[in-house]
Symmetry: C2
């Protein structure tokens, strides 16, 4: 098995407005997401994790493309796209939502931003929801405009991100509440800033609204933040698995429904408004999901890196599911994973086995998140032996 | 600027059923297409080109995902997706089609296969047409089923591909006409084979219908073909630019319309059937496209590799367009390119300049294809000086 290979920067895959900046600041490897390059390695993923949880990191997430929905019927159209009840969503708020198809399968798990009464952005995970939304609109008979605006987000995440934001925008930015957004400017660079992210740490996203000014914005933030401990970085696989956060296509796809993921809170089957997938999700809820996503703690030596294939989960020798995301947490000193298993084996404490490149390893179903600074830590770190 | 970087094989990006085989047979680099890895380098792209034009190559193009459309209204639904008149398309035929949105912009340029009266596959370029088609269907009021089947194509391309096909399937396969398909089996492996490809050479595609048997199929074809000169390979940027073939996202995107590409033959605005984008394309045709795709011959030293950014095209110092795909053709001994330029500068013979990493170079608008074995060669090779 090869772990990595050379990679050509074809024009068929887009570059972010921050591309040259991230290369200058030490990006070692990219992945591809929404048909764009995304930095995924600055040389040491474990150091990137510690930078994130102890200080702050700046991440190029321009791959989170926005689908902009405007027009007189925008609010009604957006509600049609998601099972989450949006009736109480205020202008200036953000919501984590699921986009479901007619079968109740998950097409994406974006953050929805409400910029105006009839002005929404879906900040996407990795699938072409622009095509989905435009396709739905063809025969919907609603007056909406759906396009991809010139918007490229950065994530500023970690406990010191608040200080960096104050250095950039002044003290008043401290008032920005969790999952709210605000218009802002930096040296005349037009931005939306929100208190959102993908790290389970204090964090912000800065949505650049002029792609020509990407390098200027990146350098401006690094200059303000470096004295406060800010490092260039990338979304952390370790931290997001600790936090039990989904990576679409790894942990969920269009054959996955919200109940399998335990995301019942994002589905309102009782609201009056209709949405795509409502009938199917009613059926699925009535029957109960056949599979459930669980956390797993996998015994054995520290994993050298994230899994590159789906690993079978076994019970008494029979396959009962698959590990979708696994990594070694240097903080918990455990191998932690997200897995999709049959509902019969989804109870916390259930003993199973995982078949990976290491052979077979014992594993135990565990609570998610594995680590939550605001609450308890579900999985205690292994005590260091002196 | 960096040309390549390490690349992690996350589970977020899918692997083809041929992945392990292509690694065993020497893949050096991958790209990502339709959320999957695709081999793009076996060590020497120029040798791959000569293998293709002189012998035959086997290419993993499982990234060409299929959107399967079945059901009583399948034919009517498929016609709604494309401006090409499908009224004369027989069962067993293939057609190169464009998928357009309501504004007439191109969402994809797939090969459409008609497997039955009410059974179609769209064999995709790089965008989620599964979501587009499912989205359109939500309110279309038609009885169709739209899904991604377990189908993974291989391309067998080059002048000797016919001999390899006969070694595999017997002499009768020689009857398969250009852009027709046939059901077939190889050691019980279920296949569709078609005389299609992306090389402008004699070629076939083999659509594997059981992802579990990918490595078996790959090895079976290589074993039969190697004595006839078959090599493992990848789609050739050199050959496809010589042939003037589009790479979606590089040469066209959702802001590109068919008339800009000179693909009027794929648009029938006079047929009775309605399709998405018809009104917009009527407007665009009446006004005439503002831009046109052209071929360019770029002077100067041989390009070291394909362009990694869009290069500005200039006339009298002003930007009038962009080079979308450029490469050195070792056969024509010229730097050849596809470019999108304003209609005023699109006539064959027009002298322009191109700004690239080499500085500024003189360039001339040229006929496409640059090379067509069946016809004349539009651009004569530079005579070798003795």
């Amino acid at each position: 098995m090869i772990q990595a290979a050379e990679f050509g920067f074809w024009t068929q895959i887009r570059k972010s407005p921050y591309f040259e900046s991230t290369v200058r600041w030490g990006t070692k490897a990219f992945s591809v997401y929404n048909h764009m390059f995304i930095p995924r390695d600055f040389g040491d993923p474990e150091q990137n994790f510690w930078n994130l949880v102890n200080d702050a990191i700046l991440c190029d997430v321009a791959v989170e493309r926005q689908v902009e929905i405007t027009g007189p019927d925008a609010a009604r159209f957006v509600q049609m796209l998601t099972p989450r009840d949006l009736s109480t969503m205020a202008v200036g708020q953000c919501r984590y939502v699921l986009i479901t198809n007619a079968e109740g399968g998950i097409l994406n798990d974006p953050v929805l931003l409400r910029l105006g009464a009839a002005h929404f952005w879906l900040s996407l995970a990795d699938s072409d929801i622009l095509l989905w939304a435009q396709g739905v609109a063809v025969h919907a008979g609603m007056d909406v405009t759906i396009r991809e605006p010139d918007v490229s987000p950065l994530q500023l995440q970690g406990p010191k991100s608040g200080m960096v934001m104050q250095a950039l925008f002044g003290e008043s930015i401290a008032d920005l509440r969790y999952y709210w957004l605000r218009e802002a400017e930096l040296d005349g660079i037009p931005l939306i800033v929100s208190r959102t992210g993908w790290s389970s740490e204090l964090g912000y996203e800065l949505y650049l609204r002029d792609g020509a000014r990407g390098e200027e914005l990146w350098e401006r933030i690094m200059a303000a933040g470096a004295p406060l401990g800010l490092k260039p970085g990338h979304t952390s696989t370790i931290r997001r698995i600790e936090g039990g956060m989904l990576s679409y296509r790894a942990d969920a796809d269009s054959d996955t429904n919200p109940f399998e993921l335990g995301l019942d809170r994002l589905v309102n089957l009782d609201m009056e408004a209709d949405f795509i997938g409502k009938a199917a999700l009613r059926r699925i809820r009535a029957q109960g999901p056949r599979r459930r996503q669980v956390g797993l703690v996998i015994d054995g030596a520290p994993l050298p890196g994230p899994n590159t294939t789906f690993w079978p989960v076994l019970k008494d020798g029979a396959v009962v599911g698959k590990v979708t995301s696994a990594v070694h947490s240097p903080r918990l000193e455990r191998n932690i994973a997200l897995a999709m298993v049959s509902s019969a084996h989804a109870a916390v404490g259930e003993a199973v086995e995982v078949a990976g490149p290491f052979g077979r390893a014992a594993a135990t179903v565990a609570d998610r998140p594995f680590h939550d600074p605001a609450k308890r830590t579900a999985v205690a770190p292994v005590p260091r032996t002196a």
